[in-house]
């Protein structure tokens, strides 16, 4: 038994680096502990407040994802084959969800980002924030992350 998933699990075990799915499971577990919506959103507010955000120099028009409800700034770069993500928002709850997305996708390879199945948002009951009709910038942010995964993957392989 030496298929790909075993290998990647083995490698991540060596480097103690969690896979995208493991991080998602961890978040789902964390949120399962909350008894009501207040705790859940209080946690998001905490995450949003704690996320260091983006330096003013990165809060550029180019990095701005503009929804009509809130703004999200988003920056991605490739360092030694690993994707580094940063984000900021003027709305704290949006920033809190962005922090979760960063936790899931930061320091992952372009390929795993590209192939990731994003399920935790749904399972922790925040689906409404990622429905396409929500103009809070998060939907575009997820799309952007995936796009970066695709583009960086192309770069790595060429």
């Amino acid at each position: 038994m030496c298929d790909e998933s075993h290998i990647s699990k083995f490698i991540s075990h060596i480097y103690k680096k969690m896979t995208i799915n493991e991080i998602q499971e961890e978040i789902i577990e964390e949120f399962a502990g909350f008894e009501d919506w207040m705790d859940k959103y209080a946690y998001l507010i905490e995450l949003g407040t704690d996320l260091s955000g983006l330096d003013a120099e990165y809060q550029t028009e180019q990095n701005l994802i503009k929804g009509c409800q809130s703004k999200v700034w988003f920056n991605a770069k490739l360092e030694e084959g690993i994707v580094k993500l940063e984000a900021d928002s003027d709305a704290i709850i949006v920033k809190g969800i962005a922090a979760l997305l960063i936790r899931v996708f930061n320091n992952q390879t372009p390929e795993s980002i590209m192939n990731a199945d994003l399920k935790f948002i749904d399972e922790i009951g925040l689906k409404q924030h990622l429905s396409p009709t929500r103009s809070n910038g998060l939907v575009s942010m997820v799309k952007q992350i995936k796009m970066y995964g695709l583009a960086f993957n192309h770069k790595v392989n060429n």
């Binding site: 959103y41 507010i45 709850i93 949006v94």
Partner: protein
């Protein structure tokens, strides 16, 4: 005798709905007001018993539907006191009504170098159609500013109106600030300079008795869904003298007199402006909504909503760090606000979790937000079926959010 909202709440089944297990508090009436069963029953009855395409039908059902829709036209005529029923054009809503005028009036009367005046507190629907027209015709858009209370500085009209001004288009009530504008004064002044006026009544038709003849308005636009009627239907009132001169905007069935490949002649008013199958069941629903509102009485509705506004304003003023945007002397039951340190999106999201529906963002009035240097607000808009108890729930909700964000409360 003050209106008792509890007498009417049962007419609106949605008001008994639970949101995330909590009783719905619906304060987004400025966007869409709820529809009573008196309206939906009529529409269902038409669908179930009389549904058939209107006009030019020989059979019973078609005549029945035609009568329903044309009766609705008479109801609208009476409701706004138009001189003629053919001055009432059915549209898809306020936006389409304004676009109709911008296109058709614009085609006939506006040329290079001409000027159009709107105000700084217009909904985008009363800005963009005119901008598009200005681009097509190389005309100029001019703007009446407002002061920091959210009141139009109509003294500026003296300078703004020139002999190139072809039309002035202004809202009766601001959707984001709640300001009631002195439209009679504006119309009188514009007319003294021979400038016709379009009134965007989207936010006033449900609060104020409107008499287009007493106002001497040249055009007036409103939507059904803000008047407790169905969505997708609206009205353009226009003075016969203008509507007759204006070319049709959209071509199709109903609006023609005779069609050959060489030439088409157009139908008379109002049909000239109603191409295609009209939205007749919604039109009939709008008629039923007018009946409903008239049975309660707009004056009673307005008086009670003013009470709600005063009650809410007073309670809001007591919440620390809360700022109300739009503090005009004459206001309708709309409160736009922000709490220092709390983004409007966060406020709206958390209030939603408590079952409270408010609107957040720019409210399609970005220039208003630019005036105040903000990105958006939270807006609570009250209707006659809302109660003071619901306002208490909203205020408690706002205070709860403040606490979650660590905003210091007294």
């Amino acid at each position: 005798m003050t209106l008792d909202p509890n007498k009417y709440r049962q007419d609106f089944p949605i008001l008994s709905e639970k949101i995330y297990g909590k009783p719905l508090v619906y304060f987004d009436n400025g966007a869409t007001a709820q529809t009573p069963t008196q309206v939906t029953d009529v529409m269902v009855e038409y669908y179930n018993k009389y549904n058939s395409n209107i006009h030019r039908g020989v059979h019973y059902l078609s005549n029945k539907s035609t009568d329903g829709a044309e009766n609705a036209r008479l109801k609208v005529q009476g409701f706004i006191n138009a001189e003629h029923s053919h001055e009432v054009i059915f549209t898809a809503g306020t936006t389409e009504s304004i676009n109709l005028v911008a296109n058709s009036f614009g085609e006939r009367y506006i040329f290079e170098g001409d000027e159009i005046i709107v105000s700084e507190m217009e909904h985008h629907s009363n800005i963009v159609p005119w901008q598009m027209l200005c681009q097509r015709k190389k005309a100029t858009l001019k703007v009446i500013p407002f002061n920091d209370n959210g009141e139009l500085m109509i003294e500026k009209l003296e300078d703004l109106i020139t002999d190139r001004t072809k039309i002035l288009s202004v809202n009766h009530i601001s959707n984001s600030l709640g300001t009631i504008n002195p439209i009679k004064e504006i119309i009188d002044f514009a007319h003294s300079k021979n400038v016709p006026v379009l009134i965007d009544a989207a936010q006033s038709i449900q609060h104020k008795k409107i008499d287009v003849q007493a106002l001497d308005a040249d055009f007036l636009a409103f939507s059904g869904h803000k008047l407790y009627g169905p969505t997708g239907v609206g009205v353009l009132y226009g003075k016969e003298e203008f509507l007759n001169e204006m070319p049709p905007w959209q071509g199709g069935g109903e609006m023609i007199q005779e069609v050959t490949f060489e030439k088409t002649t157009y139908n008379e008013l109002p049909f000239k402006f109603e191409a295609g199958t009209p939205n007749y069941i919604d039109i009939i629903g709008l008629g039923a909504a007018i009946d409903y509102v008239e049975a309660i009485g707009l004056e009673a509705i307005d008086a009670y909503e003013q009470e709600l506004l005063e009650y809410a304003t007073e309670k809001f003023r007591a919440i620390p760090k809360l700022k109300i945007y739009g503090t005009a002397k004459n206001k309708t039951s709309v409160i736009s606000f922000l709490v220092e340190g709390v983004h409007f999106f966060d406020m709206g999201t958390l209030l939603d979790q408590m079952g409270i529906a408010v609107r957040t963002g720019t409210h399609c009035t970005e220039p208003v937000m630019q005036h105040f240097g903000i990105e958006g607000t939270v807006r609570a808009s009250f209707a006659f079926y809302n109660t003071k108890e619901e306002i208490d729930v909203l205020c408690a909700g706002v205070e709860k959010v403040c606490k979650m964000f660590g905003v210091k409360q007294a």
